[in-house]
């Protein structure tokens, strides 16, 4: 978790508010010679739900991994004024450990290790609590992944590919949980999604990331009507 203090500095992107919960300024990330992120400036406000959409390989996961400190930026700044928890692509549970242990390990950085609030949020996890996480269905695993992230009591959750490999009915159930969390606890959400329709439906603001650059940004409802976005990400979109 990066926590770099914001210093007074003229930012090239004047649209980032000073009180943003999470912001990146001209973030550049390289893998060897390849440039994965090429000057990304974006922000998530307090209690806001923001979508990040874009094609495969645009750098969406790289951005999230950089926000969580897994990748290190070659240039640019990250300012995070709160606790960030990352729900990674593909769930990334600890398959050999039980559901309960997976949840408890989410609190490794500190705070209560009692997983019962997660059982209130996802009641079906309660009866699965002593099962190995690796044996769960995709939807159940996604709940564990979100629960594990929530155990850190984050101010902002970065969720990578919420819908990946899940049946539409499961996706909408989990998406509803995210929206409820955001409404009730004020947890901000940065949602990375292949399923642009879903992402634009439940968020208020969105960014389109293409080739490591933000190509479009604005209110989700406006982007959903944008012809170019519609053509590239919504036209004939079939959720996987």
């Amino acid at each position: 978790m990066k926590l770099l203090e914001s210093v007074e500095q003229p930012t090239p992107n004047g649209s980032i508010p000073a009180d943003a919960l999470l912001a990146t300024y001209d973030l550049v990330v390289r893998y060897g010679a390849a440039v994965a992120l090429d000057g990304v400036s974006m922000y998530v406000g307090k209690g806001e739900m923001v979508a990040l959409i874009g094609p495969n390989g645009a750098g969406k996961s790289t951005l999230l991994n950089t926000l969580s400190g897994i990748n290190h930026p070659a240039a640019g700044r990250i300012v995070c004024n709160g606790k960030l928890a990352h729900v990674p692509e593909g769930r990334q549970l600890f398959p050999e450990l039980t559901v309960e242990d997976n949840l408890r390990l989410g609190a490794y950085r500190g705070g209560s290790r009692d997983p019962s609030p997660m059982y209130e949020l996802f009641p079906q996890l309660y009866r699965l609590r002593n099962r190995r996480a690796g044996g769960l269905s995709g939807g159940e695993q996604q709940m564990v992944a979100i629960g594990r992230a929530l155990m850190a009591h984050p101010d902002i959750m970065a969720v990578d590919e919420l819908s990946q490999g899940l049946a539409p009915i499961v996706v909408s159930d989990i998406a509803n949980h995210l929206v409820a969390l955001n409404k009730e606890n004020g947890t901000a959400v940065l949602l990375v999604e292949q399923n642009a329709q879903l992402a634009l439906d439940i968020t208020s603001r969105a960014y389109v990331l293409e080739n490591g650059r933000i190509s479009k940004e604005g209110r989700s409802a406006d982007l959903a009507r944008d012809p170019a976005v519609h053509e590239a990400y919504l036209g004939g979109q079939v959720s996987r």
Partner: protein
């Protein structure tokens, strides 16, 4: 029959010592993906340090415990040298071989080339089913079982143990949860050092320790660890027992000079079996 019982019991005891070495391999490999070929050196240090402490008049029990702690500290130092910094895995592997050679040199400089031994905890030897068994074998069995139980408790019940398992299970997710995987790797090296040290402390009263015993100890421990694919502590114990029993029965019924050859032959068979099993399971 008497001979059989003797080979069986001594084989189990020596097998448990190999299992301790094997578990050291397993815990270090699981967290760091490094096969620590210096694992045998921890045992040699354990034996020699106990020897010196006992000669300095430190009471039995205390000497052994201190030697295990010292081996654990050596494990930490080896760990820092092996995995600190962004060293490629292959380089780490070579470093452990280097550390094994370096250890031999250090051991030779400090203790010389004469084999050493010391008597285990004093007490009567005993007779089981007509077989005459040295008391030390019983101590080895009890001590190893206590260590295995402690490890099972630490990994099965404690939060820290679970976090360590998490590092082995999914290092990326462990990092996202805030677990310092590198530091856990160093803890694994300390644990490996302690387990190796305990093996050396326990086996020195049974067969004299030499400064260059680390390679043969490491090979046997590695072979036992391979039974569980280097990742299963439970199967590593099984592997240790297989090697301990094979060694004692070969030495007893055939010839002690064939011990190593049989151990190596078993290792090759196990490696081939592992490779086949991995292919069948579609792993790697």
């Amino acid at each position: 029959m008497t001979a059989f019982v003797e080979y069986l019991l001594t084989g189990v005891a020596r097998g448990l010592v190999f299992a301790l070495l094997a578990m050291g391999f397993v815990f270090i490999y699981r967290v760091t993906r490094v096969v620590n070929f210096a694992q045998g050196a921890f045992a040699v240090f354990g034996g020699f340090i106990t020897y010196s402490l006992l000669r300095a008049g430190i009471p039995q029990g205390v000497s052994e415990l201190l030697a295990v702690l010292a081996a654990s500290l050596i494990g930490l130092i080896f760990g820092v040298i092996t995995i600190a910094g962004d060293i490629p895995l292959l380089a780490s592997l070579i470093i452990t071989i280097g550390l094994s050679i370096l250890s031999e040199a250090i051991l030779m400089l400090i203790w010389g080339t004469t084999p050493i031994t010391y008597s285990g905890l004093t007490g009567h030897d005993f007779v089981i089913l007509g077989a005459f068994i040295q008391r030390q074998y019983l101590i080895v069995v009890v001590a190893s079982l206590v260590l295995f139980a402690l490890i099972a408790l630490a990994f099965g019940r404690t939060y820290f143990g679970k976090a360590m398992t998490a590092c082995a299970s999914n290092p990326y997710a462990a990092k996202l949860s805030g677990i310092n995987v590198k530091r856990m790797g160093l803890v694994a090296f300390m644990l490996g050092g302690a387990l190796g040290g305990a093996a050396g402390v326990l086996i020195t009263p049974l067969s004299p320790m030499t400064y260059d015993a680390d390679v043969s100890l490491a090979i046997t421990g590695f072979a036992a660890a391979i039974v569980g694919g280097l990742t299963s502590p439970g199967l590593a114990v099984v592997g240790g027992l297989v090697f301990g029993l094979a060694e004692q029965f070969v030495a007893g019924y055939w010839s002690p000079s064939n011990e190593t050859a049989v151990a190596l032959a078993l290792l090759i068979i196990l490696l081939l079996w592992q490779a086949r099993r991995m292919r069948l399971e579609g792993l790697e």
